[in-house]
Symmetry: D2
C-alpha cells in the first residue's frame, strides 16, 4: 500500500502517522520528493481500511499494490478452481452448458424443457422459482412449489439444477439444489452472501448491474471467507447509457477476471442482451473469449413465457447454439 502525503504535512503529523502504521505491524518506507512524501507500507495491509487512511487531512491519496481479496486471488492460488457439480466440472477446462426457462411455470413445462436441453447437450438445468421483479405487481415466481417441480425435473433427467435464492430463511428449501444462484440485485446483500458462505453448495454469483470486477471479487470473498470456496462468477451485463440492449454484456470480464482470480467464469447472454436474436452471437463470443460456461434461457413457448420471454430461445434455437458453441471451443483449443 502506497500512501502519498500532501506537500504541507508537518513533520509531527507525518511521524504520528508512521507510528500508527507501525503499531499495526507494518514496516514503513519513506520516499521524500520535492512536492510530496510517499510512504510505502510493507506487511499485511489487507485489514487496513483505505478510506480511513484517505480521510486523514495530511493524506493526498492511497494506492493499493496488493488487492484486498485473498481467497479469490490468483496470486495466492495460481491454479484454476474446478467446481464440481454432480459429474459436471466447471473451470480448469470444464465447460458448463446451463439451460432452462426463466421461470418454472408447470410440471409439464419444466420437464419438457429439461429433456429437450439435455438432448441438445446442456449439462445443468436452470429455472427460477423465486423471482426478483422490479414491480410488486409482476409475477413473483412459483416459489416453494416451483422448487419442487425443479427437483422433480432433476430426478427425471439426472441434471443438476441451478436456481436463485432471495432470502437466507429459504435455505432449508434449497437442500437438494445443486447450484444456488445469487442474483445481480443481491450481489451486495452481504447478509445473504455470508449465509450461503456457511453452506457447502456451489454458488453462482452474478455481477451486479453497476458493480466493478473488483467488487464482484470482494463479494466472492464474503462467501469464501465463511468457508465455502465453491464460487462460480457470472457476468450478465452491466448498466450503461445504451438502450438498444437491456444491458451491455462485458465480455472483457472473462480474460480480465481470469488474470485476477482462479474461480470459474460463466456468461449469461440472455439477461444481458434481453433479445433472443442477440443470444447466439454473444454465446459464441463468450466461448471464443474463453468462458467456463454459458447460461441460456430456453422456453418451449417463448411467446407465452411468464417472464423475460423476449430473450428466450426455442429448443431448436438452443440446439443450434449448443452445436456452434462446441465448434468455437474446438477452434480455440
Amino acid at each position: 500500500m502506497i500512501t502519498i502525503l500532501k506537500a504541507d504535512a508537518t513533520k509531527q503529523q507525518r511521524d504520528n502517522l508512521i507510528q500508527w502504521f507501525e503499531s499495526q505491524g507494518l514496516k514503513v518506507h519513506i520516499s521524500k520528493g520535492e512536492f510530496q512524501t510517499v510512504l510505502g507500507l510493507v506487511g499485511d495491509t489487507s485489514r487496513v481500511d483505505e478510506s480511513l487512511v484517505e480521510a486523514l487531512e495530511i493524506v493526498e491519496r492511497v494506492t493499493r499494490v496488493t488487492e484486498s481479496y485473498k481467497a479469490a486471488n490468483r496470486k495466492f492460488h495460481p491454479e484454476d478452481t474446478v467446481v464440481e457439480v454432480g459429474d459436471v466440472k466447471i473451470g480448469g477446462g470444464g465447460f458448463a452448458m446451463i439451460a432452462g426457462p426463466c421461470s418454472v411455470e408447470s410440471e409439464a413445462q419444466i420437464l419438457e424443457i429439461a429433456r429437450s436441453v439435455k438432448a441438445s447437450g446442456a449439462s445443468l438445468l436452470r429455472g427460477g422459482a423465486f423471482k426478483p421483479r422490479t414491480s410488486p405487481y409482476d409475477f413473483q415466481g412459483m416459489r416453494a412449489e416451483g422448487l419442487e417441480l425443479l427437483l422433480e425435473a432433476k430426478e427425471a433427467t439426472g441434471m443438476p439444477i441451478v436456481t436463485e435464492i432471495m432470502n437466507a430463511d429459504h435455505l432449508p428449501l434449497f437442500e437438494n439444489v445443486d447450484v444456488i444462484q445469487i442474483g445481480a440485485r443481491n450481489m451486495q446483500n452481504f447478509e445473504l452472501l455470508k449465509a450461503v458462505g456457511r453452506t457447502n453448495k456451489a454458488i453462482l454469483l452474478k455481477r451486479g448491474l453497476a458493480n466493478t470486477l473488483k467488487e464482484l471479487l470482494m463479494s466472492a470473498e464474503y462467501i469464501m471467507s465463511e468457508g465455502n470456496e465453491n464460487v462460480i462468477l457470472c457476468e450478465r451485463g452491466i448498466r450503461t447509457f445504451e438502450t438498444y440492449t437491456r444491458n451491455t454484456l462485458d465480455l472483457s470480464a472473462i480474460p480480465a477476471l481470469r488474470e485476477k482470480t482462479h474461480l470459474p467464469i460463466v456468461i449469461d447472454p440472455s439477461h444481458a442482451t434481453g433479445r433472443a436474436s442477440l443470444v447466439e452471437p454473444m454465446a459464441l463470443a463468450a466461448a471464443a473469449a474463453g468462458a467456463d460456461g454459458i447460461m441460456i434461457e430456453v422456453h418451449n413457448n417463448p411467446e407465452q413465457a411468464l417472464c423475460d420471454g423476449a430473450q428466450s430461445l426455442t429448443p431448436a434455437q438452443f440446439d443450434r447454439l449448443a452445436k456452434r458453441v462446441l465448434k468455437v471451443r474446438e477452434a480455440i483449443l
Copy 2:
C-alpha cells in the same frame, strides 16, 4: 398501454392477441398505419407484464402511458405525504435535518455528536450500527451493541433516530428505532422491502447506485403495497464514469420525483460526494432545489472515524452548514 405490432403480423396473430388482451378485461383500440398497427389498451394495465407482451413475435414495441406504480403515484394522491417522526414532520413543507456519524463507535462518541448536532439544529440523529461494507475484512459496525448506544443517545437527547437494517431477521432489534433505513445496495432486496412494509415504521429508502427514478418508485411500491405508507425517498448519488467524486449526486431527482410522487425526498450529499469539502455546497443546492431534508455525516473526530471519515464534517462545519441551509430555504419560500 400502447402496443405497436410489426408490419408482417398476420390478421390471425393480431386477432389472437386482441382476444387475449380482452380476456384480461382490457378494451383494445386499433389504429392501422401504412407500416404498422397500433393497439391502444384501455383499463387497468398495471398488472399486464410488459416484457411478456414485448416477447411476442408480432410485437415491435410496448409503451406505457400510465405508470405501473399506484400507491406512490402523485396522479392518484395529489397531496404531499407528510411522514411524522416524533415531533418532526418530513414533507409538505416540513424539513428534516438528519445528522450523525457514519458508524456508532462508542457511547461517548455518539452522545457527544448527538448533543452537538442537536444544538446546531439537527432534528434527527443518524448513525450506523449494521454497516454494509464492500470488503468482508472492513469494519462491519458494532451491530446490536451499536443499536443499544443509539437508543441511549435517543433517550439522552430526545432525538428520533435513523439507522440501517440489513437483514429482516434483525427487525425485533429495531423496535424502538424511529426511521429504518434501507441502504442503496438493498434497494432491490425485495424480501427486505416486503418485511419492512409489514411494519409501521418510517422507512428511509435510498436509491441504488445504478437505479432509475422509476425503479426507486417501484421499490417504494413494494413497501407500500404491504401496507406501510411512511416512505421517505433518499437520493445519495449514482454511479457514473466520473471518478473525482465517489458518486454523482443527481439533484434533478428532487424536482423530477416531486412531479411523479407525493413522497418526501431527502438528499445525502456526504455519501454522494465522498469528500467533506463538497458536502456544504451540495447541501445548499439540495435545499435550493426543494428537498424535504438532508442527511449529513458529522464526526467529532473525522480523521479517526472508523469508516467514511473522508466525507464527515466536524461539528463546527455542520453548524455553519445548518445555518446556511436555513437561509437558502428562506430565500426560496
Copy 3:
C-alpha cells in the same frame, strides 16, 4: 410515428396539432383511450423533428416506429454493403484484418511493422499520423510527415492504408489514403462528417465513447447524405463505471447493428480494452460474434511505443491472433 397526447389536451389543441401534421403531408389516425389520445402518423415522418413535437404542451410522449436514418437503414437496403478497398472486400462475407502501430514513428518502424503484419495475414495497414490526445503536452503524431511515411509503406507492401483525419482542411493530404478514419471524439463533429461525405473515400467511422448505436447510425447518415456510401462502422469500447479496462467493449453491437444496418462492422479491441493481454480474447470473440473485421495495434517494440503502448501486441502475438481468428471464423461458417 406515434404521438401520445396528455389527458387534459382540449379538442381545439388536438385539432390544431392534427392540422399541422396534415400540412406536413402526413395522414393522422386517431385512437382515443380513457386516459389519453394517441395519434398515429403515416407517411414520411423522417423530417419531423421529434423534439419539436415533444415540446408541445399537450404532448405526453413521441415514439418513432420507423427510424430517422434512411440511407444506412437495412429496411430500405436489405443486402449487406461491401466496401472495397484495393483488392480487399469488407462486409458481405469479406473480412478486414487491419493492423499496425498506434502512431507512425519513423520510416524503419512503419516499414518493419507493415511487412510483418502482412506476412501474418493482415490485409490493411493502420497507423496514426494526426493523433488526438487528451493533453496538449502529449505527443501529437508526426502529422504530414507521418502520412508520407504511411504512403511509403503502402507503396512498399501494396497494403491499403487506414489513418485518422482531425481537420477537414487536411483533406488534400489524404488524397492517396485508402480508408479515412473518423475518431471516436469526432463522431459528432458534424462539419467533418459532411466534409468526408463529399469525398469518395472509404470512411471508417468510430463510435463515440458515450454514443448510442442509433447516434452512430445517424452520424453514418451525415456522411451518406452527402453522397458517400462507403462507410464502415467501428465499435471501440464505450465509457462505463468499470475502471479495470480502459473502456467496455460492446460486442453486442455487432449483431445489433447487423439487424439495423447494411454497413460493415469492424471491432477495435486494442483501444477498447487498453491492455495487450485482453486483445486476443476480444478479437476471437469479435470474430465469433460475426464482425466484418478487426483492427489491432501492433508494434515492433511495444514498450517504447510513443503512444498507447500498453495495448500493442508484438508481431509474434499478432501472428498467433491472426491464425486463431481465422480458425474461429471457420468454426462459425
Copy 4:
C-alpha cells in the same frame, strides 16, 4: 509521479528504467518493499507520457501526484480568474446571467427575446446560429444569417452575445461575437480548441457528455496553451443510465472544479435536464452551490421553437427564475 514496479522486475530492467527517467531530467527516489519497488519521480513530469510508462512490462501502475494541466491549475494560479465581457465580469464574485433562445429563428424573435431577458436581468444574450444536430435531417440553424441577426440584437440592446462555433473556418464570421461557445460534442475537437486558442475572445467551453472533469480541464489547457486564457467552463449534464432527464446535471462539478482551477464555472440546466419544469430548481441549486453564472433557454413561444423547445422557459418563467436566483445568491453571501 509514482511508478510502481512489478515484483518480478529484474535489477537490470529496473536500472534501465531509472536511467531513462534520469535522461529526461528527472530525479528518481527508490523505495523497495517486500512485494514491489516504487520509484518516485521528482522534476517536471508534465511531459512524461503516462501511458508510455504504463506500457512497460515491468510497470504495475503509474500514479500522478501533480496534475498534467498547468495553465488551468489553481495550484499555480491561486486567484480566481475574472473573464470580462463588455461590462460583465464572470468569476471572482461576478455572476453571468445568460439567456436566450436555443436557435435564432428570425429578427423579430431574437429582438423580442433579447429585450425581454434584459429587462429581467440577463447580462448576456445566447442564441444558436450554427446548430449541431444528431440527425442530418433536423434543422441545422440559420448559420451565417443567424449570426447577423444576433449581432443586430446585440446592437439594439447592448448585450454581449454568446454563440456556438462548429468549424474553425467560420472564425472570421465570429469577429464581433463576444463569447464563442465550444459545444459538448466538440469538447475534444482538439483542432477547433487550438484555433479558438489563437483568438483573444472569451471561450465558453462545455463539458462533453461523457467527459471527466480532468478531461474538461485538459481541453481548457489546449485553448490556454495557445495563448488565450479567457476560458469559462460550463457543466451541462453528463450521460448516465437515467432516462427521465435528458442528461444528469452534475452540480458537484462546481465545488470540485473550484478546488482544481481558477477558471469561472457556468451551469446550463436547460440542456442538462431537457425539461422546462426542472430548469428553475436546478438554476437555484447551481446558484446555491456557488456557480459563476447560469445559461438558460428562453423562448417567446416555446411550443413552436425550432429546436429543444421542451426545455425552454417563457419570458415570464425566466423573470421569476432570475429574481429567485438573486435571492439565493444573497442567502449564501
